[in-house]
């Protein structure tokens, strides 16, 4: 099996910790050698996923937790965001995960509904496990040659 480092962090599902979570992904991605632009994409994506959890916890008046998992691979970073406080059972998460289907058009998205749309645009792969709680699994690949960022181009690899 492919070797990788796994980092797990748990936070209260509160708005004030989203910035701290962003700093965490920024540190890990920077350590891996991601470009400035890719790190920014990762920061937005993880914030969107965590914001969904935080807003949901707020709506339900819960004192919930959000669990973040980072799978650090040679060629990519996998980020998991779960809306519950338990540790990840990695094999189970992977076995039960499915692709995120983008069915809504931009026009029909209501205010504040851009989160998953942005994640799917900014990350290379997005998967969702909806079994017991929601887990969003997002993957970003390292660009080996440090290809320049093009403002009007969105990577679809």
């Amino acid at each position: 099996m492919e070797s990788f480092d796994f980092i797990e962090m748990k936070f209260p599902a509160k708005p004030e910790y989203v910035g701290v979570i962003r700093l965490s992904v920024s540190g890990i991605a920077s350590r891996m050698g991601f470009t400035y632009e890719d790190i920014d994409d990762l920061k937005v994506s993880i914030s969107e996923a965590v914001t969904n959890v935080v807003n949901h916890a707020y709506d339900c008046k819960e004192n919930g937790e959000v669990t973040i998992g980072f799978g650090v691979y040679e060629d990519r970073l996998e980020v998991m965001v779960a809306d519950y406080g338990e540790s990840f059972d990695l094999e189970k998460v992977k076995a039960e995960i499915g692709p995120y289907e983008q069915s809504e058009s931009i026009e029909s998205l209501r205010e504040g509904g851009f989160g998953l749309f942005l994640i799917s645009t900014l990350m290379d792969k997005v998967e969702i496990n909806n079994n017991s709680g929601v887990i969003v699994l997002m993957t970003k690949y390292l660009e080996k040659l440090g290809v320049g960022f093009n403002d009007d181009h969105v990577s679809t690899k």
Binding site: P15, E16, V18, G19, V20, R22, L23, E37, D40, K43, V44, S47, E48, V50, T51, V54, N55, I106, E111, G112, F114, G115, F117, L118, T121, L122, F149, N150, D151, D152, V154
Partner: protein, 110 residues
């Protein structure tokens, strides 16, 4: 990881200087400051985002909200000096077509 908001108002013109990050933590504060301004009849609200280093969809939500309100009140809303990473979010979501984003944008590769 906070957001500073400074508002300069003169007659019907309000200039809102933002500095810091717009996310789920700071968006309520921005909403509270910005939305009342967009209810100025025949007014102009200019939001200066030069010092906004980070924004996500919660920020987009606030500006959509502000745009709706300003349209209802015949008020103009304009966003200026967007950093290219912030501008990119408007472009990805198509919002750059409905929002007045001033062209004095820094650092965009042609």
């Amino acid at each position: 990881m906070n957001l500073q908001i400074q508002i300069d108002s003169k007659n019907n013109l309000s200039i809102v200087h933002l500095s810091g990050e717009i996310d789920v933590y700071t968006a309520p504060k921005l909403k509270e400051a910005l939305l009342p301004l967009t209810k100025t009849h025949n007014g102009l609200v200019e939001v200066d985002l030069e010092k906004v280093s980070y924004m996500d969809s919660t920020g987009l939500g606030v500006f959509i909200n502000a745009l709706k309100l300003s349209t209802e009140h015949d008020c103009k809303l304009r966003l200026v000096n967007l950093q290219d990473r912030v501008l990119r979010l408007f472009q990805i979501t198509g919002l750059h077509e409905i929002m007045d984003l001033n062209s004095t944008i820094r650092g965009v590769d042609e």
